[in-house]
Structures are given as C-alpha cells and as structure tokens.
C-alpha cells in the first residue's frame, strides 16, 4: 500500500498504529537507539530533570487551579483553603511552590553546563537560543504565579515589576496601565495573570518540544566538546542514558522531597503569608531567589531606564552569545583562561543574587556595581577577546580515545549505530 510507514514493530496493535502514525518509530529513533556520546558526565542529567520538573509543575498546577479563586477578595483565603480543607491540598501546593525553585535550580545548572562545555557553539546556536526563550518564559510564568496567592509580596512584587515599564519614555505610562488593566494592580491584573500563568506553561512545553527537536538534529555536545567520529564514540540512548538519567531523577526527587516535607517555606518570604494590602508597603520588596541576580543588576544602575535596559540586556546578551565567543574550541577543559573566567562568572551571579536580597546601601551598592560590570564585561569584552588570544590545549583525537585509552574495540552490549542524524 502506498504511503504506509514501514514499521519494524512486531506487536500487531503497535504495528497497526505505527504504520499509520509512526510515533513508535519516532520514539525508538529519538530515545531508543539515538546515538549519544559515550562520555557524558552527570551534568548531562539536567535536561531530563528540567523535563520532570516541568511536568510536575503542570500536573500540580492543574489541581491547584481547580480550587484557586482568582479574585482579590478571595485569592488568599482560597490558597489557605487549599492548604487546610482540600484533601492533600497542602501537598499539592507545597510541591508546586517548591517545584518552581527546583525547576530554576535545575535550569540554571543546565545553562551553566551549556556555558562551560560550549554547547552554544555551531551547530547548536538555535538550540541554545530556544533555551533562552524557555528561560524567559519561565521567568514570566513564575513571576505571575507568585502574584496569585495575593500576599503582600505578591502584590508589591507585581507593582514594582510592572512599574519598571514606566521607565520607557512616552509610551511607558500607557504600557503600565495596559498591563494592569486599570490604574493600579487590582482585580483585572490578578485575573489576567492567572489566565497567562495557566497559558504560558503550555507555551513552554511547545518550545521545549522545538528545543528537543533541534537537539536531535545536531546531536548532543559532550564534556570534550568534540563531535563523535563514529559508532565507537557513541552509545544508544536506551538503556545507557535512560538508566543514568533515572539515577539523577532519584537524587533530584530526594532533594525536592526534603524541601517539600521538611522545609516547605524555607525559600519563601514570610511576608507572603500576610494578605495583600495596598495601604502598607513591606519594609523590603524582594522577588523570589531565582530572580534576585536580575533585580541586583536593575538596582545597580543609578538611572531607572538604564537599569531596566541592563536587566533585560543581561538575558538578551545570551541570545547573541554564540557570536560573541570567538573561540572554535567548545569545552572549557581545553580553554585554561576561559575556564577561570566562566567559573568567576558563576561566583559573580551568586554574588549578584545576594546583592539583590539586600537594600542597596553602603557596600552592597559597590559590590552590586562591580558584579554587574563583570557580568557584562565577561560577555561583551572578555569572550570575544579571549577567544582570539587564548592558546587552547591540544584536543583529543576522538571521544573513545581518552575513554578507552586507544581506538578501542566495541563494548559487548553496545550495538552502536552510525550517526543517522548528524
């Protein structure tokens, strides 16, 4: 018959479906036999972990939404009702609340992995850029989610962040009114934030799909940053990496469970257990920890518009990262100077996080400005220059060489297929 897909599956039902809609063949190719570099370290777990975190967020979110009421008069009480009267509501909420933190931890480590091993370089630029889109969407989703319980920090965080847009000349004020749906953060704001908080995760799912599709065209990078040269350099994804990812997922769940069951409010702000009150400004308005570095950059610039632009710039610069780095060598293992600089960047971002949690006074201002300067210096000056000046170490001939200590025979149980995709 013309047009039917030739399926290799034996089970009649699976075969029937697969010949008409080859989803099983696709799964087999993309997650079964998919040739994957054999030398991944545990940093390569974090993509799978992000996927798990995202699914947990969506599932718990849907159950929260069944009991949550997006109305300024009822939102806070409805969340407390979830905590007290909905069966296992406290579990659902704490899993969702801490899930946001776990999601960001995992994604930040995932991004660091990409930076350190040069995963953003040719041919993976678009893959990287889709990742940055996901980060932006996550930040918007988490910000709007944090507004929903309608505590003091929800209300004042929303007010401060939306007000940033007023820094833009001429249109600024109109943008803010448009975002609010009125002349202050109020019921219309809460309603639209709820609607968007429900929508955006599914946009994230769609972009994640594209992210993974792009990954399966280029294949994965690896700690050496050199492309696999043949079957001796790869392993089929299943069972090697399915089992390795499973180990990671278990450890991830232990950390997550420790937070949810033993310290569910550790990362939260006590002020958000005070119902929103437009008449009382909290002593300190701070965002959730995962947004603190951007907040620090915002407040490090003496000019409001400048601060807003720098804050957005700190993420936008990631979009052009593949073209800022002029070195052809991917992995920091073979780039002694870049390696120091990128590790310093990690410390820099953590310092920015701490600066963001403090009132911009005294030393904190100085530290914030220095850290902001290094952040941009790294991307805009050091990366282009160091790429040209640095003398990289000698790259290994192939992945299997350093691993097997020689061109190496094939391991018994690893029927490595040639790189179909690359």
């Amino acid at each position: 018959m013309v047009g039917l897909h030739k399926s290799e599956f034996k089970n009649p039902l699976v075969r029937w479906i697969d010949t008409r809609l080859p989803v099983f063949t696709m799964m087999q190719n993309e997650y079964g036999s998919f040739p994957t570099p054999r030398n991944f370290n545990y940093f390569w777990n974090f993509g799978a972990l992000a996927m798990v975190a995202m699914m947990i967020m969506i599932i718990t979110g849907i159950f929260l939404a069944m009991n949550y009421v997006p109305n300024t008069a009822l939102a806070f009480d409805s969340v407390e009702r979830i905590m007290r009267d909905v069966n296992y509501g406290w579990l659902i909420r704490y899993v969702h609340m801490n899930g946001a933190s776990m999601f960001f931890v995992v994604v930040y480590i995932h991004i660091f992995r990409g930076l350190y091993y040069g995963s953003y370089k040719t041919p993976r630029e678009l893959l990287w850029m889709l990742g940055v889109v996901i980060l932006l969407l996550m930040m918007m989703t988490a910000f709007m989610g944090y507004v929903l319980p309608w505590g003091q920090m929800s209300y004042w965080g929303a007010t401060v962040i939306t007000n940033l847009f007023s820094a833009f000349p001429i249109v600024g004020k109109s943008i803010v009114t448009w975002l609010w749906g009125g002349f202050s953060v109020d019921n219309p704001t809460l309603n639209r934030f709820f609607s968007l908080h429900y929508l955006l995760p599914f946009v994230i799912v769609a972009v994640v799909f594209l992210h993974v599709a792009a990954l399966h065209i280029t294949g994965s990078n690896n700690p050496l940053g050199i492309e696999p040269k043949g079957p001796q350099d790869t392993l089929p994804f299943h069972p090697y990496y399915t089992v390795k990812d499973s180990v990671g997922i278990c450890v991830f769940l232990i950390v997550y469970a420790a937070l949810v069951f033993f310290a569910p409010n550790f990362l939260g702000n006590p002020d958000n257990y005070i119902p929103a009150n437009p008449m009382v400004t909290p002593a300190e308005i701070v965002p959730e920890w995962y947004l603190l570095p951007y907040y620090a950059i915002l407040r490090s610039v003496p000019n409001k518009l400048g601060g807003v632009l720098m804050m957005f710039g700190s993420i936008l610069v990631l979009f052009v990262l593949p073209w800022l780095d002029t070195s052809p060598v991917r992995s920091a293992r073979f780039r002694p100077i870049f390696r120091q600089l990128v590790l310093l960047l990690v410390i820099d971002v953590i310092v920015l996080g701490d600066v963001g949690a403090h009132r911009p006074e005294g030393w904190w201002v100085v530290v914030g400005r220095l850290a902001t300067t290094y952040y941009f210096l790294f991307f805009l000056v050091l990366l282009p220059v160091v790429g040209k000046l640095e003398r990289p170490l000698k790259l290994p001939d192939s992945i299997s060489k350093p691993v097997l200590g020689g061109g190496g025979p094939l391991p018994g149980g690893a029927p490595a297929k040639p790189m179909e995709k690359a």
Binding site: R38, D77, E80, M83, R84, W90, L91, Y94, L235, P239, Y240, V243, K244, S246, V247, C250, V251, L253, I254, A257, A258, V260, F261, F262, P264, N265, F266, L267, N269, P270, D271, Y273, I274, P275, A283, E284, V286, W289, L292, I347, I350, V351, G353, D354, G356, A357, H358, R359, G362, W363, W364, V367, V403, P411, G412, G413, A414
Partner: protein, 256 residues
C-alpha cells in the same frame, strides 16, 4: 532586612567576613532567644498538652483583639480535643446566624462547623478599639514573621520599660524584639494571666511557649502528617536510588 537563605548559604563561603560584618544585625540583645520547640526538627510533633493550654490563652486573652479567620472550631480535633469539648467551646460564643422571618439579622450559638468568631466586625472597628493599630489575624501569623515561633515567643517576653533616652509615642509599649521597638499591643501575658487546669505553673515563659505552640499548630496543622509522610517517602527514594544506581553500574560495566 529579609534574608534569602540559599543565596546566603552559598555566599557565606564566597564573600567572607567583610560583607557579613556590614550586614550583621545591630545590637546583640535583639537576638531571638533559642527555645526548644516540640515541633522542630524532621521528627518533631506538636506537644498537644501545650497546644491545648495555648488555646486556652488564645481564648481568654488574644481572641479579645485578634481574629483567627482561617480556623473552624472543628479543627480543634487536631490538638486533641474531643467532639463534646469542641461542641461546648463552639456553643459558648454567639455567631451571626443569617436573618429571621422578618429579615432581621440574628445571632445563634456556634457549631463545630463555624469559623472561629472574630472579636471585631471589621478592620475599622478593630483599629478604633486599639488606638489606631490593627491586631493582625493570627491564623498564619507564625509563618508570616521572620523568625517564626522564636520571634513570637520573643515578642511575648520582650516587654520592658523603655531605655531612658527613647522617646515613646503616646499609647506605645516598648518591646525590644519588635521592629522599631514601639508596639501598639499592650503586654498580653504576665505571670498568672491564666489558670491552667492541668497543674502547670502559669509563668510568663510557660504561657508564651504554650500560646506559640498553639499558633504554630494553627499555621501548619498538617505539619505532623507532612513530616511522617516525608520520612517514608525519603526512605523509599533512598532505596530506589540505591537500586537504580546498582542497575546503572551493572549496565555500564561493559562500557568503561
């Protein structure tokens, strides 16, 4: 000053003493006293006798000014009160009971399914009766303050005469743990503020400990169930991790 524990933790190592010194809290006597709580730690549970004494204090003292809107009388089962006791407690207050046949609002005795009765009909009335200050709702107060139970305890025992050089606003009390040290709440507890029926001596410290245990329970009534579930889940996950890791080692043994 709001602390962000995670960032702090990592940063402690990275930045060292200089910044820590600049951000340290001012004087030492505002450091919260450390209290041994029955409910702290991964295996902690609420001391129910203490929570019941705390409820007595709430009923006789705090509830004159503070509401506790998220709680129902039926919830008191959680601190070990019997159905009869709860019915009696609920029936001892009058709550709004809708309207009668002529459309006039009526009052009726409370039932276990009723919310805790609030002392004031609205915030304005509460402020009017408290010199302009609003006594906050106590349902989740323990979660809503930096320091949690330790802070609430400190607040209860932190009253004293103001230092000589301090100018007090009219109607304000000195409390060294309250931000700004001037609080509109008169010292709510003294030695012997209540009569305990179980023979416990009602010292100020004992009362403070009991009422805070009650407030902690009120804020997180699910805590004991949560921790017990957590222990089981973490044990299960540890086992699963071990097994998965063993399988991984076995599968990869022919690769390296």
């Amino acid at each position: 000053m709001r602390r962000i524990p995670l960032a702090r933790l990592i940063l402690g190592a990275a930045l060292g003493g200089l910044l820590a010194a600049s951000s340290a809290r001012a004087a030492d006597d505002t450091k919260l006293p450390k209290v041994e709580w029955s409910f702290s730690g991964p295996f902690g549970t609420y001391d129910l006798a203490s929570a019941q004494r705390g409820f007595l204090i709430y009923q006789q003292v705090c509830s004159n000014c503070h509401s506790m809107n998220q709680l129902y009388y039926r919830n008191l089962e959680g601190i070990g009160l019997s159905e009869e006791q709860i019915k009696a407690i609920a029936a001892s207050v009058q709550v709004p009971g809708g309207v009668d046949d002529n459309g006039q609002p009526i009052q009726r005795p409370g039932r276990p399914a009723d919310h805790f009765r609030a002392p004031f009909p609205n915030d304005q009335a509460a402020r009017a009766a408290n010199g302009g200050a609003l006594p906050p709702d106590q349902s989740v107060l323990e979660l809503a303050r930096e320091g949690g139970a330790d802070y609430l305890y400190a607040l209860m025992v932190g009253y004293s005469d103001p230092p000589a050089d301090m100018k007090m606003q009219p109607g304000m009390m000195y409390n060294r743990f309250f931000p700004g040290h001037q609080i509109a709440m008169p010292q709510p507890l003294q030695d012997g503020s209540v009569q305990y029926t179980d023979g416990t001596k009602p010292t100020l410290e004992q009362e403070a400990k009991d009422v805070v245990t009650f407030l902690a329970w009120a804020a997180e009534p699910e805590m004991v169930e949560r921790k017990q579930m957590g222990v089981k889940i973490i044990l299960f996950l540890l086992l699963l991790t071990g097994l998965t890791y063993a399988v991984k080692r076995k599968l990869w043994s022919d690769v390296h």
